[in-house]
Symmetry: C2
Subunit: 241 residues, 2 copies
Amino acid sequence: MTDAQDRSSNTVANACERCSVRHRAMCAAVDFDHLGALEQIVSHRQFAPGQSIFDESEPADYVYNVSNGDVRLYKLLADGRRQITGFLRPGDFLGLVKQDTYAYGAEAIDAVELCCMRIVDLERLLREMPAVRDRLLDMSRDELAAAQEQMLLLGRKSAREKVLSFLLLRARHDLDLDEAESAALDLPMSRSDIADYLGLTIETVSRTFTSLKEEGLIDLPSAQHVVLPNIEAVEAAASAD
Amino acid sequence: MTDAQDRSSNTVANACERCSVRHRAMCAAVDFDHLGALEQIVSHRQFAPGQSIFDESEPADYVYNVSNGDVRLYKLLADGRRQITGFLRPGDFLGLVKQDTYAYGAEAIDAVELCCMRIVDLERLLREMPAVRDRLLDMSRDELAAAQEQMLLLGRKSAREKVLSFLLLRARHDLDLDEAESAALDLPMSRSDIADYLGLTIETVSRTFTSLKEEGLIDLPSAQHVVLPNIEAVEAAASAD
DNA sequence: CGAGCTGTTGACATTGCTCAAATTTCGTGG
DNA sequence: CCACGAAATTTGAGCAATGTCAACAGCTCG
């Protein structure tokens, strides 16, 4: 809501070459020699917490990569009910288009920095560098697999299983290698975001956190900090497929 | 379960040139001159109603296009709960892979004929014909948008809205142009399939059909035949976004 | 004609939602 | 640094939508 940080289209010095998330992003498929060409067509934008990046059905000109911060993607019903379809983190891609309009809305959860590219420039890039197209196809395949996993969660899991699966998903992302026995998570999104992601109400999410804490499956030093002292026990309770 | 029709790998005479769903499938991006090359790497397989096409997590060698019939894609939890992630019809693509294994299971709903291609052959084709890669990227984008729409349905719609949205989805596909005022639908899948697609129980699906019929929103000449006498009224009730 | 599915209907149980209030957290200004 | 107000979170009580269990009906295939 405060737009103190809304310095749209302000080009940031941070070159692609030094980009810390390049290896996780679409740009991983651009070889070192062509990073200059990439740099010429990207710009950076910053968003304050809560600020809208784009709305569903808005005409789509740009695609984005998250450089910093957390983003929520969502779809709305006419009466305001909201479904969050994904949380994005640095390195993730957004800007899926359906006939020149965005297929979902996107908002900054915390302070967000995006790397932006005009869709027309992206298309030229794709023509020149087929490897980037492969990379995009791989990324959308992963996204699709994640979406199907989420359908399983939304359609068939209990509130308790939903919350546990969500925590495990965050834990696995943070750990990357799942060798650790325990994990400490930071949840930048609100209970309301979590509820709309899991198809629950905020009250049910809150109650579920409380009862998991009482059971000793998790610890809650604060509302946004969750500790999983025993990941295996959480996995067993989450009805992992 | 009867595998009378399981004549795997039996090559069918029906050439790509005469394929009735080519324009809707991945193959639409193959130009006429290269259809011969396509034909050399595809084969056909037939499946009886209920027969498994592949299981989730099975090693993936082939990708498929549906030539005929209806297919269900699903994911399972350890205790047997099932989420159907999509119903496929002629022209649709299946065989999404995640690290060389299928990301979901697939079964024939009725008599199904598939057009099959080894993944290694597909990859060669992609190298030779970049347009096919574009086509695949477009198709997975559409699939992703559909998956997000389904998340909205699963997470945020009531049983009644879910059933109505499902009927509208089928109606829109059948009509293609949404100019008609009414529609007659054929539902090849069972109530159990519909329930597992919508995140409901068969009883709730059945009760919802009955009450929609009592309200006059739909007509049910038989369990698999649904008539929507007034599509606009259905849209209004479905909480269309 | 009877067995076995699939679908429908009924009675009841339960999960998760709604509404409401208490509590905690956090930013702002004095 | 502390006080205040707004917002987010938690907790409580009651309820409604949907699930569970059971019986019944209708259809299909031997």
